[in-house]
Symmetry: C3
Subunit: 189 residues, 3 copies
């Protein structure tokens, strides 16, 4: 029923015989290279690397916010050193969320907030036991698990390899928001 075609650009690493149409964008096995040429700076540049950073975003109003450029500003310089890898974002909170969605029309973000408020009851009619932290707190916890607090995004040629219309959203689910911390971990070669 399904058939697949591959989008293929091979750009380096250890050459292995691969039958068409399998061709990899990155394929690195650095040790063979670096052990043969320990002083080769190219070899060093494709060694496995890790970087980790905690970014704090200031309080946002309740709703969905596009934060791609702010995230890239924080990690872009470091990310430029990765030919191939993964960027992991981890929001250290339980009443906000991270998701990937449209980066263009702000109505999409507004409509998503409308949806969340419709699907998760809030106020007098809501069935929650956990109400001590305010009527918006328990709905915020539920929304956080619906969208999640973690994202992993591929890095290719030093940049986040997202689709044309994709962006990173921080969704704030509390009325009185606090600063939000995101632990960003880069891993690759």
């Amino acid at each position: 029923m399904l058939s697949l075609s591959s989008s293929l650009v091979s750009f380096g690493g250890i050459a292995k015989p691969v039958s068409a149409p399998i061709s990899l964008k990155c394929q690195y096995n650095p040790l063979r290279t670096t052990i043969n040429n320990p002083s080769d700076s190219m070899a060093s540049s494709v060694a496995p690397k890790w970087a980790q950073k905690t970014v704090t975003l200031p309080p946002q109003r309740r709703g969905c916010h596009l934060v791609t450029s702010k995230i890239v500003k924080e990690i872009g310089q470091e990310m430029a050193g990765f030919k191939c890898g993964l960027a992991h974002l981890f929001l250290q909170h339980t009443s906000a969320s991270l998701t990937i969605n449209e980066n263009y029309d702000s109505d999409v973000r507004d409509d998503t907030e409308t949806f969340l408020n419709r699907v998760v009851p809030e106020g007098i009619s809501a069935p929650w036991k956990h109400t001590l932290e305010g009527p918006d707190d328990m709905p915020a916890h539920i929304k956080s698990s619906m969208f999640g607090c973690t994202l992993t995004i591929p890095i290719t040629d030093g940049k986040l390899n997202m689709g044309t219309w994709q962006g990173i959203w921080l969704c704030e689910h509390r009325d009185a928001a606090t600063p939000r911390r995101i632990v960003i971990t880069l891993n690759g070669m």
Copy 2:
């Protein structure tokens, strides 16, 4: 309240003293090994590796589709070289999603599509501002964030280490679908 039992098969890597019942399926620290034996091909085979590929799936009808075998066909040969690692899938779109669910009864996929259409309003009664791209577009964005566009799956002994009944689903949320691109990143040893 909870107690845990571990399923343990140790199969190589650097031996470290670990107290029972902690025993790891894979435990590698390749540099010590490879630097001691730079010409050892076994050592090279457990060096850290990265591979990345973009796969394009042809347009699918709206609904949930089991795509495990198609994905494995694209990455299986490469994945066979990984004793231990992670496979990361990233869908580059905001109106479709990736999820893991049952791989057997197609009714589960149909019922999931039924659920999504019930929980996210569509058409005249829907409250969306973003309607320029058609009545199914805003619901598609919401469904994409509900299920997400990324998956990370463990690799063990060269294969995806999913449960017996698990499969990879591509959920198409648009009526008039376009081809869908998935960036697949393999990382391991």
Copy 3:
């Protein structure tokens, strides 16, 4: 609209000139170090490492369960060897889920279960075709995709780097639960 401030503690690895305010918590490029000093035990300790383990949790009653301490008990000793990395959890089932949410008030877990049972119809009024495995099975599949079966959590200085109020939840969506297997993969330096 947004502004960012970074929380920055640099603690080692290869020194690279980075302009303020970009400063990384971990930044390792182990090959340069280890190849220059193959017998340096410090260098070895920051080499890339992988560990993988399958943990089996005993049957839980339907609902949301805080399992952080049980998970940490299983991987804590191994994780202590990672200065910087990621812990990946993969639940090998399609009728339960993993999520991160509040670790304190058990009412939050109860209310989340209440929400899931409200948003996913179950019983005579439910529209499901897939009913052979019981009235709670199809709702369980849907809930599994809503919250997801995978989590990736940063490791910093040998510990899970979650927020103060975050915990790992196993959400059991079946009435008659079975043991649940989680494949845990650690990757870092």
